[in-house]
């Protein structure tokens, strides 16, 4: 009888290789921790991350050139245009972010991570670890696992896989946030906050998922879409499920009113981790949100667009206005990242999906994320370099007169601020233009008006940093640390990419527009 005949699961090894390689790299990192002598671990880990991410990237490009695509792993992962673009950018940003992890020249040969994360801050145990110059080289496999989670999260076509991706992505980040070498209490507090709120939002996601399952009878995004077009049940389950799912996802993007964790975590986490999170988490979460809302809930967009538009306005407003009052540069960038989440949301609200030459919502979102990512990675890398005897100087007043101490570094940072502000001839401007035009063409010109108004407010606080750097009297005892290539490579790449995307955005725009269609 055919009763026991179980079809063997199909698993497209080659297509999934980028994710698998990153996961394998993470496992390899764990083995390195166990098998290598302490003195070699750090170097070995750096080699592992570089090799695995590069290998994954090469395979990804090879797959893209061979036009491999489709719904993989028994209908749970979609390898489509957006997945290619976002996996590629995740790998690049992940690698750049992790390079900054491995900087040891700025702090007398020590990394930014605490030597003994489980010790009580200020305890004897910690002091011993410091003297013994211990290191947590586990941060690298943790980051790789998180990266793999992000890749699964944004490519998943069913909610269950998505949830697994979400958790694999988040758990290592909670840990990484707690591992700052300096100001450890702050770091631990940030991590605890992040963990509690993150777990809470995951619960929302899970609940929403269950309700949608109840409504559609399936976790599959396509099936949910089908259920919406020919409903069997009334919309009650759908609306509540949709809202809860949205809460879980918008939390990760940092959309108001689910943004509370962002400033504390950005400040408390070690700066390289902040850079990594600011770019990669946002990218993965926005990608997954867009997939869920466009693929599964696209038919229901009339009911979520207005709410989302209001959230976008609130997010832009709160991010831009509160950033005005910040005196700490990491906190300011945290609020700025909230404002940017609002700008991104305008394109999701626009929800227009015309293929062809025009830049549609998904294309504009991907361009924006890439332009924002390069600038952000570089900006946080620069923050690690501005120091005094107690470590990084994150008070904006401490950056006074940086333009005279190190004109090149200050010039680069000023340029990045201009890119954030969306001044023309930077990548940031083209990104803004793209998302705003997507919102307009989706029928939301008023949202563009609001977004432009908040762009002006946002421009003011970015400018303030430039004013302080160039036109204020130099602050005492603040120096620009002599960093190695591990920090300089992301900085230089980030700024070069921002310039290039500002001057010649055509290629990337064509690429993202051509790859903006979700497979269903």
């Amino acid at each position: 009888m055919a009763l026991l005949e179980i079809a063997s699961p199909t698993f497209e090894w080659l297509e999934l290789a980028p994710v698998l390689l990153v996961l394998a790299g993470g496992c390899l990192g764990v083995l390195v921790e166990a098998l290598f002598p302490r003195a070699w671990r750090f170097t070995a880990q750096v080699a592992v991350i570089e090799l695995t991410v590069l290998a994954a990237f090469v395979v990804l490009v090879a797959n893209y050139r061979a036009h491999r695509s489709g719904i993989l792993a028994m209908g749970s992962i979609a390898l489509d245009g957006p997945t290619y673009i976002m996996w590629g950018s995740l790998l690049i940003f992940g690698l750049l972010g992790m390079l900054v992890f491995s900087e040891r020249h700025l702090d007398n040969g020590a990394s930014v991570f605490t030597p003994a994360a489980s010790s009580i801050p200020g305890s004897v145990h910690e002091a011993e670890a410091l003297t013994a110059r211990l290191e947590h080289s586990e941060v690298f496999p943790l980051a790789l696992f998180s990266l793999a989670g992000m890749m699964v999260f944004l490519a998943a076509t069913d909610l269950l896989t998505m949830f697994v991706g979400l958790e694999v992505m988040s758990l290592p980040l909670y840990l990484l946030s707690a591992m700052a070498r300096r100001r450890r209490l702050l770091s631990q507090e940030a991590a605890l906050k992040y963990f509690l709120l993150g777990a809470f939002s995951s619960a929302f996601f899970l609940f929403g998922m269950a309700l949608l399952y109840g409504y559609a009878g399936s976790f599959d995004l396509k099936a949910i879409d089908a259920a919406i077009t020919s409903p069997y049940y009334g919309p009650g389950l759908l609306y509540v499920g949709l809202a809860m799912l949205a809460i879980g996802m918008l939390f990760k993007i940092g959309v108001v009113p689910f943004h509370n964790w962002v400033p504390d975590v950005y400040v408390g986490a070690p700066t390289p981790v902040t850079g990594f999170m600011a770019v990669c988490t946002k990218l993965a979460a926005v990608g997954a949100t867009a997939r869920v809302f466009f693929v599964a809930l696209g038919a229901e967009r009339w009911s979520w667009q207005p709410t989302m538009a209001v959230l976008a306005v609130l997010t832009m407003a709160l991010g831009a206005i509160l950033a005005l009052t910040q005196t700490d540069i990491k906190r300011m960038l945290a609020y700025s990242s909230i404002a940017h989440a609002g700008f991104l949301l305008t394109a999701i609200v626009g929800a227009n999906a015309d293929p062809g030459v025009q830049v549609n919502s998904m294309g504009s979102i991907m361009f924006y994320l890439i332009a924002y990512g390069f600038a952000t990675i570089a900006a946080f890398a620069i923050i690690t370099m501005v120091r005094n005897s107690a470590g990084e100087v994150t008070a904006i007043s401490g950056w006074a007169g940086l333009g005279r101490k190190s004109p090149i570094l200050a010039g680069i940072f000023a340029f990045l601020m201009l890119s954030f502000a969306g001044i023309p001839l930077t990548g940031g401007f083209i990104g803004k233009w793209a998302v705003f035009s997507a919102a307009w063409r989706g029928g939301f010109p008023w949202l563009v008006v609001a977004a432009i108004a908040f762009s002006l407010i946002a421009a003011y606080f970015y400018l303030r940093v430039i004013v302080v750097m160039f036109f204020a009297e130099p602050a005492q005892s603040v120096v620009v640390g002599r960093a190695s290539g591990m920090t300089w490579v992301p900085v230089v790449l980030g700024v070069v990419a921002s310039v290039y995307l500002g001057l010649f955005p055509g290629q990337l725009l064509d690429l993202v527009s051509a790859s903006s269609v979700f497979l269903r």
Partner: protein, 505 residues
């Protein structure tokens, strides 16, 4: 393969700015000036080619997804602005030859020269762009070097002035961004594919509301840029705090983008909407003329005074545009050129004066003519040009603007004429208070030298141009008029027929 003259023209100063990034101590100023002169040379070649009838337009696809292209072109108005820019830049560099060494905390002459060249390049592209997105990009990008020029060199409050300037301009720019995106959406909807080419956009069929909204986005940006009352307040602050050279570029070149844009974009792309805001713009222009003049009379600071005279003059220019007559629009374009030279002369001569005395306040002077006669004479000529004395080029343009306004609405011309009377008051009062009378002790102590060779080299050509165009305005007007006629044809207005021709029947 044709030579892309316009691209070359815009890139030379940018190359100069890049070269000045290299460390060089002694030769930096010489290198900077050489690049500015080379640009001027190419500018004249372009002018010769254009008047010879050559087609200099270039168009290369740039961002196909947005419908944007690297599209440069030249018309009569653009040529005037290009010539103004390429002449004023070397003059400014030469005038700031010594000032730049001493001013600013830690900001050397090299930075000043580099920023000025970068600004020149971006402004040239603004005047040359035939693609709305390209125009917008450069329009916004000019703010950055100007911001650093104001914030890096000048008075004690320069940082505040720079931020004020930037915020006003950015506000305008972002409002314009709204319209720029709107044009993209409209062109995509109507043509099926986006296009930012001016020639294509002029064919858009806009319904009145959309047209008005999009036009307003541009117009508000240009009103802030020009600047007109009540959004002019950034200009006196900026002029007061920055060096005279910076002020020349700010008022002489950058602010012209405002009136330039009104003609090239508002009138050309949105003729119907522009006509319907005409009366409001005329009232705003009159307010600017009178307010600027009165504020100039009351100014105690010489640089602030010149800034207010410019507010008044920009009122005249806007009046000319929105009179919708050939005389008015040609007069405005000519006015833009003349105002550039005459304000430059005024700012730079005052700059020479202030650098000697160390104060910009009117009451710090008195009897300067006895100790520095050449300087006094130059100031008088520059001042007379500012008050539009017959024989000066500014007289021709101001007369044309008034004539254009008269043929549309006589009372408007009558009110505006008050502005010319007040102009005489503010220029002559200022001259009397600072130059004539007994020599004060401070003046005798500080002003020990008259204009030196370098300073004369700056001032003489500027005044020469003013007098030359005053006597032979036809040289410029013959180039300008076709642009004015073309703009008005596109705006679908004809010159009013004189009374006895039509209504008397």
């Amino acid at each position: 393969m044709t030579v892309p003259w316009l691209t070359i023209l815009g890139l030379i100063p940018l190359l100069g700015a890049a070269v000045l990034c290299l460390p060089m101590k002694q030769v930096a100023k010489g290198v900077g000036l050489a690049f500015a002169l080379a640009t001027a040379l190419v500018g004249f070649v372009v002018a010769a080619l254009f008047t010879g009838g050559a087609n200099l337009s270039e168009s290369v696809p740039w961002i196909p997804a947005f419908g944007a292209s690297w599209s440069l072109g030249l018309d009569g108005m653009g040529l005037m602005m290009v010539l103004l820019t390429v002449v004023l830049t070397p003059a400014v560099l030469l005038a700031e030859w010594k000032l730049a060494d001493t001013s600013g905390g830690g900001w050397g002459a090299r930075a000043f020269f580099g920023l000025v060249l970068a600004l020149e390049s971006l402004s040239l592209f603004v005047f040359l762009a035939d693609d709305v997105l390209l125009f917008y990009l450069f329009f916004e990008a000019t703010l950055i070097p100007m911001y650093f020029l104001i914030g890096g060199f000048g008075g004690a409050n320069r940082s505040y002035a720079a931020v004020k300037f930037l915020l006003f301009s950015l506000a305008g720019g972002l409002i314009m961004l709204f319209s720029v995106i709107g044009l993209y959406a409209e062109s995509t909807r109507q043509f099926g594919a986006p296009s930012y080419l001016l020639a294509d956009l002029a064919k858009l069929q806009l319904d009145p509301n959309t047209g008005m909204l999009l036009m307003l986005g541009f117009l508000i940006a240009f009103i802030i840029k020009a600047p007109m009352v009540p959004v002019h307040t950034w200009l006196p602050t900026a002029a007061e705090e920055s060096t005279p050279g910076t002020s020349v570029l700010l008022v002489g070149v950058l602010d012209k983008i405002g009136t330039f844009g009104m003609i090239k974009f508002c009138l050309y792309l949105f003729p119907d909407a522009s006509r319907s805001v005409g009366p409001i713009m005329i009232v705003l222009a009159l307010v600017s003329i009178l307010y600027g003049a009165v504020a100039a009379i009351g100014s105690q600071n010489l640089l602030r005074l010149v800034a207010y005279t410019s507010v008044s003059h920009f009122g005249f220019m806007v009046l000319g545009i929105y009179s919708f007559t050939t005389a008015g629009v040609s007069g405005t374009i000519f006015y833009m050129l003349n105002h550039g030279f005459s304000t430059a002369a005024l700012f730079l001569v005052l700059g020479f004066l202030i650098s000697r005395r160390g104060s910009a306040m009117v009451d710090a002077y008195g009897g300067v003519q006895k100790v520095a006669p050449v300087l006094t004479g130059s100031l008088l000529l520059a001042g007379l040009s500012a008050l539009a004395l017959p024989g000066m080029s500014s007289f021709v343009s101001e007369f044309m603007v008034l004539a254009g306004a008269w043929s549309r609405e006589p009372w408007v011309a009558a009110v505006a004429a008050l502005g010319t009377v007040l102009a005489a008051v503010y220029v002559l009062l200022m001259f009397q208070r600072t130059m004539t009378g007994p020599v004060t002790d401070q003046v005798r102590e500080h002003i020990t030298t008259d204009l030196n060779g370098r300073e004369k080299l700056v001032v003489v050509p500027l005044i020469g141009v003013i007098l030359f165009l005053g006597i032979l305005p036809q040289v410029a007007l013959s180039v300008i008029e076709p642009t004015a006629v073309a703009t008005l044809t596109q705006a679908r207005v004809t010159d009013p027929v004189p009374l006895h021709g039509k209504e008397a029947k």
